[in-house]
């Protein structure tokens, strides 16, 4: 068979059923192979859309997503999605066509040094130089994307390799060897947990990625240790766990930030002390000893020195940490913090209060739902006011904070989980960044529900201008937005605008009961800000409120 046919066969060997991409000259042999393959290709309307759909596919299933692009501009358009996947450790395999090997290095038509370009945005990348290495490299790409700390892997395939002849061989997927952890370290960690008076578990995205959500909740149930979540960890801790205080960090809850500032032991599980979490680093959890659990040892001591660090697979490691604690006064304090700082949804006026709308939407979504969002104020409101029972149901661009994430990620999730209600919460700025993907929704008639919170502003940037730049609103006014309803209708979406909080309930009903894709365009006040907030450079206990 040809190299191109082999590529599709190997994808199928790895259980891939759907691929997102966009064709072009240097990848035409592979697109030709799709023509009579039962591997389904989804044409996106921009390679960035394809990369993000692969991210959505991966995140919503905790599996691998695959995207494809041609050489040159096709490959460069993938970069933002790959960077996003790298910072959030998402397993994506990207396949790019490259010009003929003989033309590489001659500035040939649509030639970009994709291998060179990929170095900063992938976990690893390959250039295939010999057709006899093609299958092996693809297998390695899948293994690398998923093993250890997951991440994006790119395979660049010159056109001559795609059209060359090669034999196809069966490939037994090797069973993954999990790292063994050190029992003495586990004992040391347990001793710290037993001694602690005010312990807090700080839960990141790594728990879900290790498929250890149940193990984590069993650990919490057994110990009743208070727990906070990062943005990417949301959905991991059961929402009804009594000592769960919500998200930590810049826009975290007061209860979470105060709990962590006061704790004497921080048990960090699959998180990485990101600056949006810690605030001013040297004031973060100032009295705490630290236990750091991760699959990636490079995270240990990168920002905060741990007292005990254990590399391991969470499915085995977390249960091994179960131990008895006696922390009744601390639990009482956490419960009091939760009561004192509970969210309030009563807002003056008739306008739509976005946090209240999202809270109602969250309560009314069917259990099997997935919510993706874009980046900005609306993203933080989703994190604060919607509740999730699985980390695979909350898809948010954490490390990279990439506007334009929401729509294509929802497309990937909807295709991966066709029986799921897939909702995008977006802002009027972000929506326009991958608006072309409405074409993908139309093409495949995907029943995605879009909630567009329109404040006619680049709201989050505007909020910072208001607070930290003397209200000098430079380039954040979007009052010349297009007619979003007309735009959506042009792509065959049902669409409706609401202005008042009295319209919210009916609008949610109508949206959820409509069979096909739907845009709910919600006009909100441009002065609404995200609270509470830890100002840049401040400590987490110095949260301010509007």
């Amino acid at each position: 068979m040809t190299g191109a046919q082999l590529v599709l066969k190997v994808l199928q060997q790895h259980g891939i059923k759907h691929v997102f991409g966009y064709p072009g000259g240097a990848i035409m042999p592979i697109y030709d192979a799709f023509y009579d393959s039962d591997l389904k290709h989804f044409l996106c309307r921009h390679e960035q859309g394809a990369a993000f759909s692969a991210v959505g596919y991966a995140r919503s299933t905790n599996g691998v997503g695959v995207c494809m692009a041609t050489s040159g501009p096709g490959a460069t358009n993938l970069v933002t999605g790959l960077a996003d996947a790298l910072l959030d450790s998402i397993p994506v395999v990207a396949i790019t066509g490259q010009v003929f090997s003989s033309l590489m290095g001659t500035d040939a038509f649509q030639e970009v040094d994709v291998l060179g370009m990929s170095l900063a945005v992938t976990k690893h990348s390959f250039l295939v130089e010999d057709i006899n290495d093609l299958a092996k490299i693809l297998h390695e790409a899948f293994e690398l994307a998923q093993s250890g700390r997951p991440g994006p892997v790119l395979v660049d395939i010159p056109k001559d390799i795609q059209i060359g002849q090669v034999d196809f061989e069966p490939y037994p997927i090797p069973t993954r060897v999990l790292p063994e952890f050190n029992l003495a370290d586990v004992e040391a960690a347990k001793a710290l947990i037993q001694q602690a008076k005010n312990p807090v578990a700080y839960i990141g995205g790594g728990v879900g990625m290790a498929d250890a959500v149940d193990e984590l909740n069993e650990f919490l149930q057994a110990t009743q240790i208070p727990a906070v979540s990062t943005l990417k960890g949301l959905g991991t801790i059961a929402p009804d766990y009594p000592y769960y205080t919500g998200m930590i960090g810049m826009h975290g809850t007061k209860a979470s930030n105060l709990a962590v500032q006061e704790c004497d032991l921080l048990i960090c599980i699959g998180a990485r002390f990101d600056d949006r979490v810690t605030g001013k680093l040297d004031t973060f959890a100032p009295n705490a000893k630290v236990i750091h659990l991760d699959i990636d040892v490079a995270e240990f001591g990168k920002l905060r020195q741990p007292d005990v660090a254990i590399k391991g697979d969470f499915k085995q490691l977390i249960p091994a940490l179960k131990t008895k604690v006696d922390i009744t006064p601390w639990q009482a304090k956490i419960s009091a913090l939760n009561v004192e700082h509970a969210w309030r949804y009563d807002a003056p006026g008739e306008g739509v209060f976005a946090p209240a709308l999202l809270n109602e939407l969250s309560q009314r979504l069917p259990t099997n739902h997935v919510v993706s969002c874009d980046v900005g104020q609306h993203q933080m409101w989703v994190a604060q006011h919607m509740s999730f029972t699985s980390p695979y149901n909350h898809l948010s661009s954490g490390g990279a904070g990439t506007m334009g994430f929401g729509l294509p990620v929802a497309i990937g999730a909807q295709i991966a989980r066709p029986n799921t209600t897939s909702v995008v919460v977006t802002g009027d700025g972000s929506f326009m960044m991958n608006i072309q993907e409405l074409g993908t929704i139309k093409r495949f008639n995907l029943p995605i529900k879009i909630v567009l919170l329109d404040n006619q502003r680049l709201g989050m940037v505007k909020q910072w201008q208001e607070l930290f730049f003397e209200e000098r609103y430079s380039e954040t006014n979007l009052s010349d937005n297009p007619d979003f309803v007309a735009l959506a209708r042009a792509f065959d979406l049902t669409a409706k605008t609401i202005h008042s909080k009295f319209e919210v309930s009916d609008a949610i009903t109508q949206m959820l009961e409509t069979d096909g894709p739907y845009l709910l365009h919600v006009v909100i006040d441009d002065k609404e800000n995200v609270w509470p907030l830890v100002a840049p450079g401040k400590a987490n206990h110095e949260m301010i409120e509007g």
Partner: protein
């Protein structure tokens, strides 16, 4: 500035050396010298001297994650460097 030396054995792959150098720069170290030699087609040896203020473990663990690197050894660091890494 504290100097550190690494001895690296890596797979001979397109971009192996570039990857190593990129990580050195990105993680906040300055390249003082580099010597690349290849005894056979499959393998490349890289001797690297870098300097920087950050804990060398940061660079060591990041380099160690590179897929092409088969063996990485931090072979010498002056006393100041050792003191810093003990503190870190």
């Amino acid at each position: 500035m504290i100097r550190h030396r690494f001895n690296i054995v890596a797979k001979q792959q397109p971009a192996t050396v570039e990857r190593v150098l990129r990580v050195v720069r990105h993680r906040g170290f300055i390249l003082q010298s580099v010597n690349v030699s290849s005894s056979d087609k499959a393998q490349v040896e890289i001797e690297l001297t870098v300097s920087g203020e950050r804990p060398i473990e940061t660079l060591q663990t990041q380099l160690d994650k590179l897929y092409d690197i088969a063996h990485l050894e931090l072979i010498s660091a002056d006393t100041a460097a050792q003191a810093a890494s003990i503190r870190a």
